[in-house]
């Protein structure tokens, strides 16, 4: 335990130092929210990967590989396709629009009502996502150190809020690069050790075959894997958490290479997480919950140094996502609700201070939920992914590329998509066994197209005109 505390202390010291450098470079709200649009491919790719890889990956995905074996790995191509849609169809037009946040884009494209509704949904969806991150940190600290879950939540809350407050995205992006490298080191170092315990790949295969042959094949049927992949992919194509990172990059070429760099980080971490989950199933087939697999491995299987590295890697995944969630949600509250309606136009220094206050408040709200009994971490992550996809996919991905889209179409599609997604998720036996992401996104797209086409006989208002036309 003493080695773990030394490694954790060193890690938090490095994070604080980078946050301090970020603080010194942050002068304006634009510096805070989009790092002054200066990120290159390496830091940009690391920040994309670190934002996407979260507690869901280190606790939840390990848990699902523990439960389901190889088949869940095929959800990764869905993540990658989502990023490709984002970089090809979303990033160029979004950068051209000059928006600082997604609700900012909604204000320019669809008007003030859509701006407020989208800012509100970002806060709700990301509060749900934060609950998963806090819960996972509690699970790790309890399993590895034996401390109560709330201490893990307090640790993540304090450390991440401080560095989000200080450095904004200038600090956050560089910390993301460090965290991505820590994550890769932590998981890659664990795999040979685990395989050594099991007698290599063949030994692992024999043990898994004996427990359940489906672990090496299609435990999740292809239809279920497609549902996982679609939830992640459709959400990533339009989630403000990721696509605002494209706004922070130097140019479009840097954004394209950054996605490739992100793929490399994810492929290495995804493959290692798969090996960890399956190896833990072979070694400890009867854990009460798959979510415990990575923590039990760090505490009881690995050497103290490798175990400490894995715990720090998991903390890195959680902290980078919490940082991104706080920055995006705070920007929505301050830039799109407070500055847009309460104080127009606000002095930049006051907006920067308001961003920092919002970070603290938004970090505290999910704690109330996280200290209660909640479902498996990965299912919370998946639910918010479905909600975001059902809400944002049509107005962002189609809206950026279709001249006839209207404010009424965007607003009605956001509401119809989210109501469908929530309603479908609450059903005990959904019709046709269909996952909520499909009806949610389908209804959202259909309503968006129909209402936009029906309303396009009236003249377009200024905020509804295509961005290229307005620039001309």
């Amino acid at each position: 335990m003493s080695i773990l505390i030394i490694v954790l202390t060193g890690y938090f010291a490095a994070v604080t130092t980078l946050a301090w450098f970020g603080y010194r470079r942050t002068r304006t709200a634009s510096d805070f929210v989009v790092a002054g649009r200066t990120l290159g491919a390496l830091v940009g790719g690391a920040t994309l990967a670190a934002t996407q890889i979260s507690a869901g990956t280190f606790v939840g995905t390990v848990g699902l590989h523990y439960l389901a074996g190889v088949s869940f790995a095929w959800a990764w191509p869905g993540v990658w396709l989502g990023w490709i849609v984002a970089v090809v169809f979303v990033a160029p037009k979004l950068r051209e629009s000059g928006a600082l946040t997604i609700p900012d884009y909604f204000a320019r494209r669809y008007g003030p009502i859509c701006r407020s509704v989208s800012a509100g949904l970002i806060v709700v969806a990301y509060t749900i996502f934060l609950v998963a991150q806090y819960k996972a940190s509690g699970i790790i600290v309890h399993a590895v150190l034996g401390w109560p879950e709330w201490t893990g939540i307090a640790l993540i809350l304090a450390s991440t809020t401080v560095y989000s407050l200080l450095g904004g995205l200038h600090g956050g992006a560089r910390i993301d690069l460090m965290q991505s490298l820590v994550m890769v080191t932590g998981v890659v170092a664990s795999v040979p050790y685990m395989l050594g315990h099991l007698g290599g790949l063949d030994g692992l295969a024999h043990r898994l075959e004996a427990i359940d042959p489906r672990l090496l094949g299609w435990y999740y049927r292809p239809r279920e894997v497609v549902a996982f992949a679609a939830s992640f992919g459709l959400s990533l194509a339009a989630t403000p958490l990721e696509i605002t990172r494209f706004l922070a990059m130097r140019d479009l070429t840097a954004a394209r290479y950054a996605v490739g760099v992100g793929f490399i980080f994810q492929a290495i971490i995804g493959a290692s997480v798969m090996m960890i989950g399956m190896s833990m199933r072979a070694l400890f087939p009867d854990l009460p919950s798959g979510d415990l697999a990575s923590s039990v491995m760090a505490a009881h299987v690995l050497t103290p140094i490798a175990g400490s590295l894995l715990v720090v890697a998991a903390f890195s995944a959680i902290m980078s996502t919490v940082n991104a969630l706080l920055l995006v949600a705070a920007a929505s509250v301050v830039h799109d609700l407070y500055a847009a309606f309460v104080e127009r136009p606000g002095p930049d220094r006051r907006l920067l201070a308001a961003n920092r206050i919002a970070v603290v408040l938004l970090a505290l709200v999910p704690v109330w939920f996280a200290v209660r009994e909640v479902p498996l971490v990965q299912f919370i992550v998946l639910f918010q992914a479905k909600l975001v996809a059902s809400f944002f996919f049509a107005p962002i991905v189609i809206g950026l590329n279709w001249r006839r889209s209207t404010a009424a179409g965007a607003l009605s599609s956001m509401l119809a998509g989210s109501i469908t997604c929530v309603g479908w998720s609450l059903m005990r036996q959904p019709p046709f066994g269909l996952d909520a992401v499909f009806p949610g996104v389908a209804v959202s797209i259909a309503v968006f197209l129909v209402v936009s086409l029906a309303g396009s006989t009236t003249p377009l208002q200024d905020h509804q005109a295509p961005l290229a036309e307005r620039r001309a």
Binding site: P77, L216, G217, T253, Y257, F263
Partner: protein, 38 residues
């Protein structure tokens, strides 16, 4: 290990390789267009 395991690694390598090829071609095209405008 069965084919479902190894095929994932082959797929990931091909996918990332193809993506970087596309990004490189796009960057070259952007550079060429920019120099034509100048």
């Amino acid at each position: 290990m069965p084919w479902t395991f190894y095929s994932w690694f082959i797929f990931a390598a091909l996918f990332i390789g193809a993506y970087f090829a596309w990004a490189w071609i796009s960057a070259r095209r952007t550079r060429r267009n920019d120099s034509r405008i100048k």
